[in-house]
Amino acid sequence: MSYDVAIIGAGVVGCAIFRRLALGGAKAILIEKGADILSGASKGNSAMLHTGYDGALDTLELACVRAGYAEYREIHRHLNLPLLETGGLLVAWNEAEAARLPAIVEHAHRTGLADVHLIDATELRRREPQLAPAAQAAVVIPGEHIIDPWSPPLAYALQGIAHGGEVRRRTAVTGGERTSAGWRLATSTGPIEARVVVNAAGNFGDLVEAIARPSPFRITPRKGQFVVFDKPAARLVRSSILPVPTERTKGVMVVRTAFGNLIVGPTAEDQEDRAEAAADEGQLRTLIDKAIRMLPALAGDTVTAAYAGLRPATEFKDYQIEALPDRAWITVAGIRSTGLTGSLGIARHVSGLYSQNFGGLADNPTPIWTPVPNLAEHSPRPHQQPGYGEIVCHCELVTRTEIEAALAGPLPAGDLGGLKRRTRCMMGRCQGFYCSARVAELAAGRLPDLPVRSAA
């Protein structure tokens, strides 16, 4: 079996490229070494639909973020994807920060966001009465919204499958050789032949790039830790509370989630390890302290979870995306922190590169839509309709029908993490105190790695 295009890496970027190329009529295969899609960088992020208000002008990143933002708004209803319209408030906590706000507004205007504007302390207090008194002023970014990190890539992958694509998981690409037709990739599950290869390998991008050429960039994973507060904390803010950014990162923000929680994060810590996103107690406590300084009323609220993600940073600020026509290869690397929003824009850009260099893609006027189950709290969920079987996860009100659906279909959960990302089971305040045994029972025989044996 030979494919037009093999995409290496089923993170959000790989899934979006897979979708776009399959929609364009290419015979596509998406290859993932993990047990499920989103096994790497894409599983832990802040879930923001980002306007690009702070994006560097004339960069590919900004262009992709803008295009991705627009396309998400256009397609999210067709795919049943959430959009929690919170808007963002970039808050200055001292005079030095306040002095920098006008420049931030001006920059946002130059990126084309005419609705970004300043508000004073009084107006800020009116909008967000729970913010600490130190808040001096803020920049309003009306379009800065919240989505969910897991269902969009799943919907993209499913739509790609509906258009003839194939997803192969638990398949690590170990090498490759050029053939007259393109590439024969060596993988842990046998060779895969394709005319063109797209490297969307995230934290392993430079290692995969070395199959085609000496990698011109080096990935240094940047760890971002987040703390998740229990749902009642979400009452404390309406907008996403953003910090005045520094050179290195956007800084620590306090944002609601589509699941009804409040998160604070991320940290930004460079590390060598590409797979292990370990949490650190000291850093988590620092995040909690920062959040309480911004929102004093948070002091009495409980923490539901903590997680860490790895962002594939390179030594370059911009995305590293290029087509290598003589190598039948497209590089998509260094998608650091805007990948969730940028992915649809990146996919459009890659589709353009593909058309230019490797042959035309059709524009499908009547795509097949593959809506995914809703995970967001602000839209109806299955427990609100009769016939849901049973509630398995009491914290997140996840039903048996949802779990069974996630274990079936064209792209069933590949491991427990995948099941959690598809349903939210075990992700609530009790973290499996009540449901982990029942979930394991329902998943028995369908999630091969679940290490459960019969009790003596």
Partner: protein, 407 residues
């Protein structure tokens, strides 16, 4: 919407005991809402013995047998299983959902909240390290072993030495899970001695006091834990970690609602009649505080039912004026959190308290700054402290305070 005399949220020892007491008194328009497929509460998951002492005229029972006795004892009161409460509202309104019929609203002239407790999972304890499969709580381990008859791992480290931690040891032994070590940050175990002696000599488990869990290692499955004892780091190979105890009241249905919570207990604040800040709502059992025995929860259920019967007859005293009960460190909490200033027709329960660390000295109960009662005590965390309330509340009192004068 269907209206009832009493709606009981939670079919564990407290809720079922209240149901029984109501039934015996002839109040039969009562429903118990239970989210599991069977009522009985946490004892259902506890395969070991020790339940029901002094409660039923019987030898101590295993948890599931005890749970069945609790259900049988309700004399036919309607228990709606598989019914999840999604929220409560003023007016005694309770939002529920059921797999077959979907969402609905029921209301009670009185509503008893008896949703119990859960253990604090790893994530809320902010433990460093990765998030692999194989990290559970005692409750989750019990469900694996006793309800679904599976064995989630084969060699585990148990974190904590509360009473429930020893229940985790017994559960592990039942499933053939080896316990690599039991960790305790303090210098002595939290549960009563000789728990550690039994662990060491009967179950063969190393009990490491003065030991802190530093991090969990392993990508997909737990590979090891790092611990720190006596300033030195050590690694223990294991494929499971069981976080035990640090119980928290299960207040999920309350937090977005209108019932005042006590930051000390984490549960609803009550007066001596077990009334919440909304007087139509009562609370009993471990929702009130972490954590008491099933026997005490059962006893509370009986008392709160008697109070609800009085309330249905409009015979409970007015709620105001109420005198708040304050406390100072090292006391972690005292409940009831307020005393309604009128002495009612029913007797008041004693004040109950806990300390956050070991302490000894003189425990005092002060009313308007005057000592009403005092007692020499030697207190340990997670041990019940009982303060007699038979002389409370004095008419016209402004303040009630509990303090420990340490030696």
């Amino acid at each position: 919407m269907t209206a009832h005399d009493v709606v009981i949220v939670g079919g564990g020892p407290a809720g079922l005991s209240a149901a029984r007491r109501l039934a015996v008194s002839g109040i039969r328009d009562v429903i118990v809402l239970e989210r599991e497929s069977e009522a009985g509460g946490i004892p259902r998951h506890c395969g070991h013995t020790g339940f029901g002492l002094g409660q039923f005229l019987a030898l101590p029972m295993r948890g599931p047998a005890y749970a069945r006795r609790l259900v049988e004892a309700t004399h036919g009161i309607e228990i709606r299983t598989r019914t999840t409460v999604t929220g409560i509202e003023p007016g005694g309104r309770v939002h529920v959902t059921h797999p077959d019929s979907g969402p609905a609203v029921v209301s009670g002239r009185c509503v008893l909240l008896a949703t119990g407790v859960r253990e604090t999972p790893r994530s809320a304890r902010l433990v460093s390290g990765t998030r692999p499969w194989g990290v559970t709580t005692t409750g989750a381990l019990q469900q694996f072993v006793y309800l679904t008859r599976t064995k989630p791992f084969s060699r585990a480290v148990v974190v904590g030495t509360e009473l429930v931690s020893f229940s985790a040891l017994l559960t592990a032994r039942h499933a053939g899970i080896e316990i690599a070590a039991m960790l305790e940050e303090g210098e002595r175990i939290t549960a009563r001695r000789p728990g550690d002696w039994i662990a060491r000599h009967v179950l063969g488990v190393p009990v490491l006091t003065g030991t802190r869990l530093v991090a969990i290692r392993g990508l997909d499955k737990v590979a090891a834990v790092e611990i720190e004892r006596g300033g030195r780091r050590e690694t223990i190979a294991c494929d499971g970690v069981v976080f035990t105890g640090r119980f928290q009241p299960e207040t999920a249905i309350l937090k977005s609602g209108h019932i005042a919570l006590d930051p000390g207990t984490g549960g609803p604040a009550i007066d001596q009649y077990f009334r919440c800040s909304d007087l139509q709502f009562f609370a009993a059992g471990n929702l009130l505080r972490p954590v008491e025995t099933s026997g005490l929860c059962w006893a509370e259920g009986r008392v709160v039912a008697a109070n609800m019967i009085l309330s249905l007859k409009n015979r409970l005293p007015e709620a105001t004026p109420a005198v708040p009960i304050t406390h100072t460190a090292p006391l972690k909490y005292v409940y009831p959190q307020r005393f309604t200033a009128q002495m009612g027709v029913a007797g008041a329960p004693p004040l109950r308290a806990r300390v956050s660390r070991a302490a000894r000295g003189r425990l005092r109960l002060l009313v308007d700054g005057r000592e009403l009662w005092s007692h020499r005590v030697n207190l340990l965390p997670e041990r019940r402290i009982t303060i007699p309330s038979d002389r409370l509340p004095p008419v016209g009192a402004q303040s009630i305070h509990v303090e420990l004068i340490e030696d």
